[in-house]
Amino acid sequence: MANNNLSVFDIAGRAMSAQMLRLNTTASNLANAGSSSSSEATAFRAIKPVFKTVTQAPGIATVQVDRVVSSNITPTKRHDPTNPIADKNGDVWDAGVDSAAELVDMIESARQYQNNVQVLQTAKQLTLDTLRLDK
């Protein structure tokens, strides 16, 4: 066990960081959901983290964010000539964000964050109990 130093605390702690990053991307996606742009290329697209397993020993693994990618949801073209940023045809592009999916994602990552907190609490309690073994 000496050379694979991935304890329960590392496992759950790093999973919490990954879930927190996912929650952050969800927050920025939702914040930008109502934004529009003057061209399809510059319109906001939802960003998503890609999770990757980090294995130390067989079965002992935690998770990290490999990279953050832009989703392939195409921004919606909307005809709005009164908008000051509309192009010469009077069109604007609304951000490519699926708000419902983002909300579901938000709940899922919050739940999984809580799961890891629970794991951490249990592990902490058991470790403390073991330390107090001869009392």
């Binding site: 496992i11 397993t53 079965g59 890891n116 109990d129």
Partner: protein, 119 residues
Amino acid sequence: MANGETLFGLSGTALQLRSQRLALLASNIANAATPNYKARDIDFNKALEAATSGNGTSVDQAARGALGYRVPLEASLDGNTVELSTEQTQFAENAVKYRTTLSFLEGRIGTIMSALKGE
């Protein structure tokens, strides 16, 4: 008997295995959202049997030998086989059993201590 066996008996080995299984189940829960992650678990009885067989198998080796992949009740599209309900119940069960083993050890240490003090 293997080293350390005489003092703590079966409970010492069992506690080490429980601790390893705790880390394993924590890994499964940590990877609940990772695509293509395959959940793993230790066959506890098999590992304990191997570790206490007395043929020099270390606890680490015993745990590795009893390692298997979890068969999911329902396959998911992203290839992930972690089912949180399963993992959480297993984790809770393992934590309770760890605590149980700990109280066995407490009793044993108490016995040894009173024998040492000769009261």
